[in-house]
């Protein structure tokens, strides 16, 4: 049970809450049920991926559960892929649900990388959800989401 976020929740055994699951035709999986994904993020996803289904899985998104200022948040995206010529990750996209602009970065990869892992440092203005989407060589889309609390933004 890590203080780091990974794809999946840290519910106690015996008290596992049902995660919002993918409904047929639904485009996006969110960690947090009920609250609607802000429109900006939904629009950005549509712009990038059209109506293609974004499935949950294969992607591990690591970022700290809390950040003090949110100015320099280390993020690592790992995609479960053999990275062969036939079966690899073409691109990784990172989004922030509540930043002024939802896009953070896009990275193009290929079998020449050997491992589908990217790390960077990002700015997250306030408490929010971060989403990583991977496009595989078979054009399927896989994702993971994680929540981060930015503590300095809770103030008087």
């Amino acid at each position: 049970m890590a203080g780091k976020n990974e794809a999946g929740s840290s519910a106690r055994p015996g008290r596992r809450r049902a995660l919002q699951s993918l409904a047929a035709g639904a485009c996006l999986i969110v960690v947090r049920p009920a609250a609607a994904t802000p429109e900006r993020l939904a629009a950005a996803l549509r712009e990038t991926f059209g109506d293609r289904q974004i499935k949950r899985g294969k992607v591990k998104l690591e970022l700290p559960r809390l950040a003090e200022s949110g100015n320099v948040v280390p993020v690592t995206v790992t995609v479960d892929s053999a990275m062969t010529e036939r079966d690899n990750v073409k691109s990784v996209h990172l989004f922030a649900e509540r930043n002024n602009l939802p896009r953070i970065l896009e990275v193009q990869l290929g079998p020449y990388n050997g491992k589908a892992v990217v790390s960077s440092r990002v700015r997250l203005a306030i408490t929010q959800q971060v989403l990583a989407v991977a496009v595989l060589s078979d054009d399927t889309l896989w994702s993971a989401a994680a929540e981060i609390e930015v503590t300095v933004s809770s103030c008087g």
Partner: protein, 111 residues
């Protein structure tokens, strides 16, 4: 506006065996100003960001990133590459004011 692209640093292993997956770390000095900050009188500070970062291995592109304002100041990347042959890795950064930076690292690949 003048570009404030600064110096770049990369960390690539000097040697590797053929087929080994090596870790590459890169950073460039750049304010990567988001455009959402304000100055002392509440006026927006103009955006000035690194827009793209690429890595080529003996002329072949093995990494490309498109950066948006939410990347932190002094953009940092870590990624991996399969060591295939000895040669040069060329890293380039370009920003939205025509600024550019390049770094080159050599790698010796043995069997």
């Amino acid at each position: 506006m003048m570009s404030r692209m600064g110096k770049a640093r990369v960390r690539v292993p000097e040697r590797a065996t053929r087929g080994e997956i090596v870790e590459i770390r890169t950073m460039v000095d750049h304010p990567h100003e988001s455009g959402f900050r304000h100055d002392d009188m509440g006026r927006p500070i103009p955006r000035h960001i690194v827009e793209s970062f690429t890595c080529s291995y003996n002329g072949r592109e093995i990494f490309r990133a498109r950066l948006h304002p939410a990347v932190s100041t002094n953009p940092y990347f870590m990624f991996y590459a399969v060591a295939t042959e000895s040669g040069e890795l060329v890293f380039t950064w370009t920003d939205d004011q025509g600024g550019a930076a390049t770094q080159i690292a050599r790698i010796t690949v043995t069997d």
